[in-house]
């Protein structure tokens, strides 16, 4: 069975500062990893994914994430946060190379970027 841990319920940063949202995962075999963002009263929006290849993945809105196999982590980063990045962020995982397509989500991290 796969699982995701997001150790921080909340992350608070000042606008212009770097933003990091942490994620660690557990899965049998190799993982497919995803980040989604949820704005108030909206659905989950896909940000980026790691499937294979370069460990540093770039996604929407200037976000990137680094896959670290030895630490089983997939932290989300943005070099310079904006107030509009304030939202709920979810990390998700599923196993690679299987017909198990369901995503397992973390509990989510609320990001607040103050002006």
């Amino acid at each position: 069975a796969q699982s995701v841990a997001q150790p921080e319920d909340q992350v608070n940063v000042a606008e212009g500062n770097p933003l990091t949202v942490k994620c660690t995962y557990s899965v049998s075999g190799n993982p497919y990893l995803f980040w989604y963002v949820q704005y108030p009263n909206r659905g989950l929006q896909f940000l980026l994914k790691y499937i294979t290849g370069d460990n540093l993945v770039k996604g929407s809105y200037g976000f990137e994430a680094e896959f670290n196999k030895s630490q089983t982590s997939f932290h989300l980063k943005k070099p310079s946060a904006l107030v509009s990045d304030s939202a709920l962020y979810f990390c998700a995982v599923r196993p690679k190379g299987t017909n198990d397509y369901k995503l397992s989500f973390g509990a989510g991290t609320t990001v607040t970027v103050r002006a």
């Binding site: 497919y32 995803f34 989604y36 009263n41 909206r42 659905g43 989950l44 929006q45 896909f46 994914k49 499937i51 979810f90 998700a92 017909n99 198990d100 397509y101 369901k102 995503l103 397992s104 989500f105 973390g106 509990a107 989510g108």
Partner: protein, 113 residues
């Protein structure tokens, strides 16, 4: 950019009543999913659907739940006799031939009284 849509956005129902939640997938998408998120909890997988049949379902998806694609476009989730604990946000997700990325709808908030 194509989007997954869901209706209604909010449904209030009495315990024991049947509800049908609707999803319109992105055109040409082939794989369909339902997830739910109880307030304050994780997003949980309910069921996946491909080629007009259930591919996988979680233990949450018991006999009270069913899914179908009645007209080749809409993808529905039916709860036959709602319970208080069914109150949650229900998300539909779809993928195309790139089965890696699931695109989610805005969700239906179900409130069971």
């Amino acid at each position: 950019e194509p989007e997954v849509t869901q209706t209604p956005s909010h449904q209030v129902t009495q315990m024991g009543q049947e509800v049908i939640l609707r999803c319109v997938p992105i055109s040409n998408h082939l794989y369909f999913y339902w997830y739910r998120q109880i307030l304050g909890q994780k997003v949980e997988f309910l069921v996946s659907f491909y080629n007009n049949e259930i591919s996988e379902k979680s233990e949450i998806f018991d006999d009270q739940f069913s899914v179908e694609r009645p007209d080749g476009s809409n993808f529905t989730l039916k709860i036959r006799s709602t319970k208080l604990e069914d109150s949650a946000m229900y998300f539909c997700a779809t993928t195309g031939r790139d089965t890696d990325t699931q695109y989610f709808g805005p969700g239906t908030r179900l409130t069971v009284l």
